[in-house]
Assembly symmetry: C2
């Protein structure tokens, strides 16, 4: 009780003094949300009110402010943690959340990822090298067709079979039917791989796209149906969807986070989170095991530096909880694999979506070519 | 099935041709998410793929693109609706979602607000004039102290007693204890008002700040405890938290939406939603009865035009579902009331937070002054 954790903001201001005023404003806004002279002395002023620890110049017109908050402000909820670190301040221009320093009480309550990079590697049985992850799509396909693509991909040696994040509960591939069909297809491929002496297996990640009332039901259904993991879009379902599942004693599958609807949180330099904070630290904090993000050079505009910072925030040993796997997607191709491996290395889930669809029923060839390219034997 | 609804995007592009290419890119990205030449002919190409209806110049470097999507892409989930209208495209710069045209199948599935402006007016019994809405805070206060402030405010004639969005499950005011205490306090004040012949009553809105698993439990608890409404932060809990409660046959309270953590969705001109779309249309679509947003001239930077556009999107008779109430907050004061009434008129929930705290135990005086100012007898 009363332990404090730290949040680092980049504040845009013309002078040190202005930056300090803004920092004090954040400390008020995120906690008591009343004018400074109205803050009751004692517990509220000493403990609940945010404390500005330091304000230091970063670059021309930008300052780093370190503010600490009490666990008493958070209570026991992950939703309230987000509310405290960035709730109303997210609505003010010129404030970017760029860092987080937990305290023991916080890490005890929010343990982070249940599997992480090592756990995923163990589940696949792939001892070294990057993970090959085809995305099964397009939306509008029948469950049967999606299962067929999943089978062919798994049979060809894919490590993770990821459903497209757009597969929800469409007429031709309703959730229950689809998950059962794809799970069976991947299981069959895994059995055949095992019979051939392959010691690795494909993990099937089901996309939940849950409503506010059926997250747990959908997650438990996927688990009981034999899926190996689930996909959550925190930009749509909220970050606590990940945290709640991670902490659920009855749920024991890894979680892949997809960035859908999260763009505005990182695209502007003057608001939101830094790329590393959003797709690295925050994902680890919520408990995601794999963090999907748009790859440099694809149809999204993330820079090489931004992507590298995400990968580093995911894989950093000193970060929140266990190390997790970055998963760049979008604009990935067999031809670009060598370049990708340079950036992301082995502890990375390499997504391949649209480019793979070009192979049609020869999708297995695409998987095999990707594996070769990943292992560096391609160039 | 297969009915289509429309979404309007503002696309930043140098030429008409570039804008058209980008629009086609959105139509692909938001549905099949594969290259155009890989889209299977027939159902997927004809129905599932987004259809660009028009791309017209708006202003220098900006175009309006109208794209329609099939209900088959949405299936039956509100989360998937958001995923389809803006999921991955939210991660591309230069695309702003500015308009929405529903189809009958969509309005049937997502009915909008259960109470709206008229319903709230009926519940309060206040036949004319704006609604006075004190915000009970600060975080860190005991349940007893918060209940006392709620009683004094309700007793003085407040229409809505809103809990601060930062009240979650803190040690000195845990959720269950707090909701029971404040409800009792507001009930007592309402009884005393009724005894004096007052035909209006104060509505108590409880802040849920639910986790991903306990939204329904918390909402039902608040209802059973006698609260008159609940507060949801869609930026933290997801928009479906509002939609799911609105559609729950056992839940019959109005919902107030709070903008915490939503800032990045509107602050940048080049990404996210327009102010009117986010705090007006999207709130109506989700089913909120009251939409809180930062008022012009306060400590947030919303312009007069942006605030007016929100109020108009909330109150427009032709908009989604029933008309709802805009609720500007932040920087509101008795002194500014006349100006505020000019902008927002009578069908508006006027939030008063920090400024009210200055009154201390004389908070009732603040409520009465605000009522006088609202009714135009002040200036």
């Amino acid at each position: 009780m009363g332990e404090r954790f730290g949040v680092r903001y980049r504040i845009f201001a013309a002078t040190q003094q202005e930056a300090e005023v803004r920092a004090e404003g954040i400390a008020l806004e995120q906690t008591v949300e009343i004018p400074r002279d109205c803050v009751p002395p004692g517990y509220i002023e000493d403990t609940i009110l945010g404390q500005v620890i330091s304000v230091v110049p970063e670059s021309e017109g930008a300052y780093f402010a370190e503010i600490t908050y009490s666990m008493d402000a958070v209570g026991n909820g992950f939703t309230q943690l987000l509310n405290v670190i960035f709730g109303n301040s997210s609505i003010q221009m010129g404030i970017k959340l760029v860092g987080f320093t937990p305290c023991a009480a916080l890490t005890e309550q929010f343990p982070g990822a249940g599997f992480g990079a090592k756990g995923i590697r163990a589940l696949t049985g792939r001892k070294t090298g990057g993970f090959v992850c085809p995305v099964i799509k397009p939306m509008g396909s029948s469950s049967e067709r999606l299962a067929e693509l999943a089978y062919l991909s798994a049979r060809a040696g894919a490590d993770i079979i990821k459903e497209d994040h757009g597969l929800a509960n469409q007429p031709l591939a309703p959730f229950v039917e689809r998950v059962v069909a794809i799970e069976k297809a991947v299981s069959r491929a895994n059995m055949e791989r095992a019979e051939e002496g392959d010691t690795t297996r494909a993990l099937y990640f089901a996309n939940l796209c849950p409503g506010a009332f059926d997250l747990r039901n959908k997650a438990m259904f996927a688990q009981e149906a034999g899926a190996d993991g689930v996909i959550i879009m925190p930009g749509i379902s909220g970050f606590d969807a990940i945290n709640a599942l991670t902490r659920d004693p009855d749920f024991a599958l890894p979680i892949m986070a997809h960035p859908s609807h999260l763009g505005p949180f990182v695209l502007s330099p003057e608001t939101g989170y830094s790329h590393a904070m959003m797709f690295g630290t925050l994902m680890r904090l919520a408990g995601a095991d794999i963090s999907v993000f748009p790859n440099v050079g694809g149809r999204f505009g993330f820079s090489l530096g931004e992507c590298a910072s995400i990968a580093s925030a995911c894989g950093e040993p000193g970060g929140y909880g266990v190390e997790i796997l970055p998963s760049p997607g979008g604009g990935m191709s067999v031809q670009r694999m060598a370049e990708m491996v340079e950036i992301y290395g082995d502890d990375c889930v390499y997504l391949l979506g649209g480019a793979l669809l070009r192979y049609g029923d020869r999708i297995g060839d695409g998987i095999r070519e990707m594996r070769v390219a990943l292992s560096g034997k391609f160039t």
